[in-house]
Amino acid sequence: MCRIGAIKSSNYVHPSQALKLMESQQKGHDNSGFAMVMHDLGGIFENYKHLPTLSMACTDEGLKLAEDIMHEAGFQRVMQWVPETDPQPGLDIHAMPNYVFETFDYPRYFRNGEQQEKEELLLDMRLKLRKALEENEQGFVYSFWPDVVTLKEIGDPRDIGTYFKLWTPDDKFTAKVITAQCRQNTNYDIVRYAAHPFFMQGYTALANGENTFYLKNVEAQRKLHRGYIGFESDSQCFLYTLHYVHRELRWPLRYYKHVVTPLPFDDIERREDKEQLLALRQSLAHLEINGPNTIIGVLPDFTMFTCCDAKKLRPVVIGRTDDTVVISSEVCGINDILPDRDWETDIYPHEREIVAIDNNLEVQRWRQ
């Protein structure tokens, strides 16, 4: 079973906290990988919040290929950060030769463009890069978005932390939102893209569970958006549905829950908004999920949330202090990074709610 975790803080947090959050939960996962997405960046990225950062792992050829494509498209690099590595012998990590975090300025003709246009451009560029680097596995392009970096690697999460020197806190590589997961794909092939969290146009999602409506979701999503590709993991479907409901349909986040785990028909009948709920249930029947799941998600405005399957078959707990909220599969992880919190205020969400944390760290519980 996966273990998932997410930290949202009013201060900048170093990824070592995410490693610690996941470390004590390691008996529940198989130590086969580590992946994290960081939103609302601090440190060296803090001054470049408005510009997109490309996160990728690649070979030397892949790097050249990617830079050529970026250059050709008119993107100008304004910052590059290559994490220092510590390749000690004996580390369990299948490292790629290069890990690149490059921040770009938009092409000249886009600089004064509409936000929407820029966002579509960034997606197109990521898809283009991904496709170009796919051949011979020359690289993996995880995200290309302002104020977001992504790291995914195969191996033991502790060793991956050591390799990237992430165990030692510093103020160079930090963020106010970090989501992390410590397991490579077990259902399907082990490929870097299959590790959650998944990211698209500001949205991040990670999940613990099994989506038994995977095939239905995939068949429907493939036709919904050009960016809904890959499907290396059944959990990717959660991200695409989130993106579709919140960004494409522009429905409030609460309705995400109504789409993935719709209320039973009997309950809908008793609701005042039954017309809406029935219509969305039937129109999006193929995006419903089934099976045991806990989802953690992040929105482009950095709102973080969690929700579960309709039968609450996977655990999740939310712990908090004045300046930090942590969502995690198991409470032991939260105990490690928030040892002094009042655990009596921990929230164990039920199957019919979304718990959302806004940028003031206010926790809202929306009953479906």
Binding site: M1, T186, N187, G209, E210, T212, F213, Y214, L215, K216, E219, A220, R222, K223, L224, Y244, E248, L249, R250, W251, P252, R254, Y255, P264, F265, D273, E275, Q276, L278, A279, L280, Q282, S283, L284, A285, H286, E288, N290, G291, P292, A310, K311, L313
Partner: protein
């Protein structure tokens, strides 16, 4: 000695021969009275007996007249093998026996000069059904725990009505972040995924039709199962049209428009909307052959409901006024949508055919969003009367065709927009839950069934040519006849009870199938849950081949 007449019909020419044991017969006459086909009769035979009474052999003969039961040697009254004689015989003295050497197909045509007609059963293929080559092989283990069929709740409803793509839903977001509906949407009814398929009052006896209607009302009112029944083409009793139970009925219109005069006239008095309208273009058991109600079955009440004289009633194989799909959409669907003020979903029923996907594509792409269901009817089912050549030699199996339609929808990102309902031999082995479940995994939203309902009522026919006399109006168990004496053989309450009980059993079985694949709502499109040990079937249906 009589001259031999080769052309005379004898029992050996018939599909069934009567096996009669005179020594067991008490001559009670029950069999003759019960045989609705007049295939047996009382006769007196002249018997010769040789005997000797003296001390020495002194053979003498005596002739006596012995009353016996005999098979009628008449092609009009041939034995259908229904076995009612055997059922009523107190002494097991009589029973029908299949005659391998029958010349029936030839002599019937030779003597009648007309095509053979019979009840709707297909007798040709007897190989293993495709559905029996499929198993539900994706069983949840460990990471995705199975559900508990007894303990967990399941949401087992299927849509009937046109479903809009999400991006076209007329929603706005208000100041409180709530979605509000800004415009009307096509009507969609969520109903039980098994519709009792369209058997008309006329094809069925009034008691049978009433029993089905009673069962449907009971399932809805007492069991909480929103099962719907389709009227078939032949109208509905006015009393039902004006009652609250109309909401459980899907009204059918077909090319004969039988019964619609009364339906239209009852509209102002309806207290409930019907569950839906089903426009029948074709039926799977006899595609290309329209409905056929022979004059013998057009009893007085049928004449009244349909507004017709006692004559053969034929629904033409096509709708005379419709020449294209666009036209049918505009004329027929729109007029029926409008007739009920766009509150009642309107669907179409077509026979499965090599061209089904084209028809489906045309409908799913219609910009008016008014086709609310695609009822696809394959071969292997059927209840009505038809020409034997149609029953035996036309038609298309349902399984791959349903799959083709679903995949066509998926390829266009339009799955679910026109709900797919499938029929044609489903439940043939008695196990409708399994068949329906597999069809849903292949893409059906639900299924409809007719023949199985007749079997629940006591129909003795089968696919081996037994009985199949639905066309004659002489149904020996009172299901497809309007003869008062025969109709009264049917116990209305028992039939309704059987149907209700079958649905309750099936409901449990659905849950027993949904639980292991870890689904609490219907597995529409979950072809990943199916496996097949037959490579050709697996390839054709795009499911996993296993061995």
């Amino acid at each position: 000695m009589e001259t031999m007449r080769v052309q005379s019909v004898t029992p050996n020419d018939m599909p069934w021969k009567i096996k009669y044991d005179a020594s067991r017969c008490t001559l009670c006459g029950s069999c003759v009275a019960a045989c609705s086909f007049r295939a047996i009769e009382c006769k007196v035979e002249r018997r010769r007996m040789v005997f000797s009474e003296g001390e020495l052999p002194d053979p003498q003969q005596r002739f006596s007249a012995v009353p016996v039961i005999r098979q009628v040697k008449d092609i009009q009254h041939y034995c259908r093998g229904c076995g009612i004689c055997e059922k009523v015989c107190p002494n097991d003295a009589i029973s029908p026996e299949r005659n391998q050497d029958t010349r029936h197909p030839i002599i019937t045509r030779c003597l009648g000069g007309d095509s053979i007609k019979r009840g709707g059963r297909k007798n040709l293929e007897s190989s293993v059904r495709t559905l029996d080559k499929l198993r539900i092989g994706r069983i949840s283990q460990m990471t995705d725990p199975s559900l508990d069929a007894q303990r967990h709740s399941f949401d087992m409803l299927a849509p009937f009505g046109r479903i809009l793509p999400a991006e076209t839903l007329p929603f706005s977001v208000d100041n409180n972040d709530n979605l509000q509906v800004e415009d009307s949407m096509p009507p969609v009814r969520w109903i039980y995924p098994v519709v009792i398929g369209d058997m008309s009052i006329g094809a069925l006896s009034w008691r049978m039709w009433e029993a089905v209607a009673m069962a449907v009302a009971y399932l809805n009112e007492e069991c909480g199962m929103p099962v719907r029944m389709c009227s078939g083409e032949g109208g509905v009793p006015v009393r039902l049209l004006k009652s609250k139970y109309l909401k459980y009925m899907i009204l059918q219109i077909a090319s004969g428009h039988f019964g619609w005069n009364r339906i239209a006239k009852a509209m102002p008095y309806m207290v409930e909307d019907p569950a839906g309208i089903l426009i029948k273009i074709g039926q799977g058991a006899k595609p290309g052959d329209g409905g056929l109600l022979q004059a013998g079955k057009v009893a007085e009440h049928i004449q009244a409901i349909r507004g017709v004289p006692k004559a053969d009633l034929l629904s033409p194989p096509n709708h005379q006024g419709l020449y294209s799909i666009e036209e049918s959409v505009q004329k027929m669907f729109l007029s029926f949508n409008a007739a009920f003020k766009f509150r009642v979903p309107v669907a179409i029923k077509v026979a499965a055919s090599a061209t089904s996907v084209s028809v489906f594509n045309n409908l799913v792409r219609d910009p008016y969003n008014i086709v609310g269901g695609f009822f696809l009817d394959g071969i292997d089912g059927g209840t009505g009367a038809a020409h034997e050549v149609s029953l035996d030699h036309t038609g298309h199996p349902i399984v791959s065709k349903l799959r083709d339609c679903y995949q066509a929808a998926t390829a266009q990102g339009r799955q679910g927009q026109i709900p797919l309902w499938a029929a044609g031999g489903l439940g043939k082995t008695g196990d409708l839950a399994a068949d329906a479940f597999k069809m849903m995994c292949l893409g059906a939203n639900g299924v409809f069934t007719g023949k199985l309902i007749l079997q629940m009522a006591g129909c003795v026919g089968n696919d081996m040519g037994r009985c199949n006399a639905c066309n004659t109006g002489l149904c020996p168990v009172g299901i497809t006849t309007q003869e008062s004496a025969l109709v009264h053989r049917l116990d209305v309450d028992r039939v309704a009870q059987n149907i209700v009980n079958y649905f309750l059993a099936m409901d449990t079985e659905f849950k027993k199938l949904m639980a292991p694949i870890g689904n609490s709502s219907l597995p529409v499109g979950r072809s990943d849950a199916l496996i097949s040990t037959d490579r050709a079937v697996a390839d054709r249906l795009d499911i996993q081949y296993v061995c």
